[in-house]
Amino acid sequence: MTSAQSIESSNDFVIKFANVNGSGSSSANELFARAVMRMGVPVAPRNIFPSNIQGLPTWYEVRVSEAGWLGARGGCDMMIAMNPQTWDRDVAAVDAGGYLFYDSTKPMPASKFRDDITVLGVPLTAMCNREYTDPRQRQLFKNVMYVGALIALLDMEFSVAEALIVDRYRGKDPLIQANVHALRLGYDYVRAHLPCPIGLTVRRADAVGDRIFIDGNSACGLGAVYGGATVAGWYPITPSTSVIESFTSYCRKFRTDPDSGHARYAAVQAEDELASIGMVIGAAWNGARAFTATSGPGISLMQEFFGLAYFAEIPAVIFDVQRGSPSTGMPTRTQQSDLLACAYASHGDTRHVLLFPENPYECFTFGALAFDLADRLQTPVFVLSDLDMGMNESLCKPFDWDDSRRYDRGKLMTYEDLEAGKDFGRYLDVDGDGIPYRTIPGTHPTKGAYFTRGTTRNAYAKYSEAGTDYVYNMERLRRKFDTAKALVPAPILKKAAQPTRIGVIYYGSTSPAMAEAGALLEADGIHVDTLRVCGFPFCDEIMQFIADHEQVFVVEQNESGQLRSLLINEGEIDPKKLVRVLHYDGSPITARFISGRIADALSDRKISPIRKVAS
């Protein structure tokens, strides 16, 4: 059933694994992705998994791209169809000319295939049943076996996958032997029975460089360790839980006192999100660096406390790994839909500092930076990641750290300052930047104590309902927010190859897809300047970018265009100028989607993107 025009591609294709949740396939799938990477070819894997533990369908998609495009591409050149439940869907998902790999223990009738794709059958179950007696082993090694088969089909180096297994199970020789054996069985079967390699191949390249491969949540946890966090209050929620798991495991490694074995950190699983943010606020009030990690529903629950931390001016760091919303939404799908809920969290005139990392490297750097900003500004700081970035491993720059860097603890009034007779007014704007000085409980026996509250007060923290005190405070908070503009990471501008009147604004995990979309558009003769927003409050460059372009597309992964709303609101921008490009079905946005929408919109509006260059 080989089609006439099979897809031929080396180092540039998408392969998808259709599995059943709980079948232990994820480590085998990851083994495949890493093997490609070890051959020097960039990969971008993505887990597509249901909100259940066992039994429902799950997919693992690996984009292989020597060009280095790490965003989701869409489409599928090869399907490893291991889930009978989704067979029809999976067969249909293969691009014309693509490949279908299946377990041929029970051969399928021809009617179950398509005649425009290549079908590759390996009797995996039969081979496992012959080889193993234990049902769990039969299941697990079946997965390793199909990886072995793929190594042969794609003409990859067996030794690369073998070395990965040795690395993974270092010190556990029986496990190494058993896994390599299963890998070999799959490999040998294919070499003996199927024509290989197929049209898709992986050739050794040098396109990975020194990049590392890690998921955003692990990087956030590491960022919290490097940022000096000592207290975490948290409550489990997909997709943020692994931020805390990563924090605690890095802390166990780096923050266990070598002499006493005691922990230089405390991570407490709270009873709910209210308590987790309450703990963060209590700890930060008392001078520790503290954080929580959550997702949309948790953000909703924490609102009252965000208002308190904002108004009482207490540092707090919140990692929000966004998922499909509203309500419980699509817990295991990705979105960027908490932007407004975080920017204006809580009742009244609150506004919060937001950071938008684009990949694990920035999850780490922005994660660590968030603690400096929270202390400097004495306010909550949100790091907005999402499921796509948080839970999928991704190639990124290696982590680095400047050893001369010291934590910026912000304006702390010390015992010595108080002794020296410095005037301490907890809410006094001494320096004109809106940021007051604070004291940590226990600082001085007779000076510097004050009462923290969410009710209004005067500059000396005394309860006051006087309108003038309230207005002073609100104006100072506004000044402080303006100060934050210069402290959040600056936006990143990429100029098109030619002058253009079209701009595109985007943020966060849209980044890899946007980079590729820019290239696709350019190939079509459409030139756009792009600006990646890295933080909120928005600095003047962002507003200038909008002013400098006739039409600005705002690309984001939610239904209502939340970044656009925020830009309109904060920059008092004419809404007509900002065109929505919205992707929100829960899957990661793709380059094809972005470039398609922009090209369509431009042709609809008959806007020529290219400014005539004066000759």
């Binding site: 020194d210 590392i212 491969f213 890690i214 590491l222 360790v225 490097y226 000096g228 000592t230 207290v231 209050g233 780096f254 923050r255 006192d257 006493s260 074995g261 005691h262 922990a263 230089r264 950190y265 405390a266 407490v268 009873e271 209210l274 308590a275 987790s276 943010i277 309450g278 703990m279 209590g282 700890a283 930060a284 009030w285 008392n286 001078g287 520790a288 503290a290 009252e304 406390f305 290696p398 982590f399 680095d400 750290w401 010291r406 934590y407 940590i440 409980p441 226990g442 600082t443 001085h444 026996p445 007779t446 104590a449 009462f451 509250r453 969410g454 000396y460 005394k462 309860y463 006051s464």
Partner: protein, 351 residues
């Protein structure tokens, strides 16, 4: 106006404690509560207890939720940092504070509305988590600040000021704390300073979650006939299981008590609780016995006061978490940041 400091008109011979502080050094702003509110008597007892124990005021962190009761931390220990958080959520804020610095003394003040309704979840979890704190509930059976609605501790059948009869069952916070694993549980009455002050002292010296449920009549909304939280009602139905005295290790007084009538309980910090037994059968080290005793007496319409339970070998949250001795908020960069070398090694593992 609460921000008026109390005039410091001191007589030269005002008694001083071992730190050289007078009682005035433990006071705060002038209370704005209704004259006669039970909560003010509790504040006075806190002042007395801290004075007696020679506690440095700045080593106390006082936290509260929202309500008349939760305003009171402003009215004592003016040299301590205070935190009036949000309604019902003081326990989590206090937990976080305690995580940050294990060396301060944590005093949580709350109301029955604050703790038994909106905050019951946080109340429960702070108790079971073993937070080292003194948690005082100023229990008046009503919502004072929102003007007289029943709270969840109001007795079934009791009457509001407006004549409404409460049809819901009450929550007994002391019984609840016992079930949840609090290691020091007491009940008292705001009008009985003689009993309350030593109970607070014992709680402050205790290493673990200490709850004191203090019946504290609301003179404005819950001090009428039909209320089971009025001064008269509580006085008539109060039965004390014991009287407590707290002796600091350096204090020689312990030898002057005749043996037999006293039970000595040595707490973690070395302080000694002397329980003067009133009820000969009452054993404050028996958690289940304490729960039973509370319920039996409640069925008879009695309010049991005194130290209901103490576990002198209690361990606090920091022991469970195995945290370092040095407060987490005092660890410098060098102790916290693994540095670039560690990152290089990590990068190598991630390829």
């Amino acid at each position: 106006m609460t921000y008026l400091a109390k005039p410091k008109l001191l007589s030269a011979d005002a008694p001083k404690n071992a730190l050289g502080y007078t009682r005035r050094d433990y006071e705060g702003a002038i209370s704005t509560l209704c004259a006669g509110c039970g909560h003010d008597s509790i504040s006075a007892s806190i002042v007395q207890a801290c004075f007696d124990l020679d506690i440095e005021p700045h080593r106390v962190a006082k936290l509260s939720g929202i309500g008349c009761s939760s305003k009171t931390p402003d009215y004592f220990l003016g040299n301590s940092h205070g935190f009036n958080s949000v309604h019902g959520r003081m326990p989590s804020v206090l937990t976080g504070a305690a995580l940050a610095n294990r060396n301060l003394i944590y005093l949580g003040v709350s109301g029955d509305g604050d703790s038994a309704s909106i905050g019951i979840g946080q109340f429960a979890h702070a108790m079971r988590r073993g937070v080292n704190m003194t948690y005082i509930v100023e229990n008046n059976g009503v919502y004072g600040l929102t003007k007289g609605q029943f709270s969840a501790t109001a007795d079934k059948g009791s009457k509001s000021k407006k004549g409404v009869i409460n049809s819901d069952n009450p929550i007994d916070l002391a019984a609840l704390a016992l079930q949840l694993g609090a290691t020091y549980v007491a009940r008292s009455f705001s009008g009985d300073k003689e009993q309350l002050v030593p109970l607070i002292k014992g709680a402050l010296c205790h290493n673990g979650p200490a709850l004191i449920d203090v019946l504290s009549p609301c003179v404005t909304f819950n001090n009428h006939g039909g209320s089971t939280r009025s001064y008269d009602y509580v006085r008539q139905h109060n039965e004390a299981v014991n009287r407590v005295e707290v002796i600091l290790p350096r204090d020689p007084i312990e030898t002057s008590y005749p043996p037999g009538s006293l039970r000595r309980v040595v707490q973690h910090d070395g302080s000694i609780l002397h329980l003067r037994k009133l009820d000969i059968d009452y054993d404050p080290s028996d958690r289940i016995g304490a729960i039973n005793h509370l319920q039996e007496r409640q069925a008879l319409g009695e309010i049991v006061t005194g130290l209901l339970y103490v576990d002198s070998s209690a361990q606090d949250m920091h022991s469970h978490l195995n945290t370092v001795e040095k407060p987490l908020n005092q660890l410098g960069d060098a102790y916290l940041c693994p540095g670039s070398k560690a990152l290089d090694a990590l990068n190598a593992l991630l390829r």
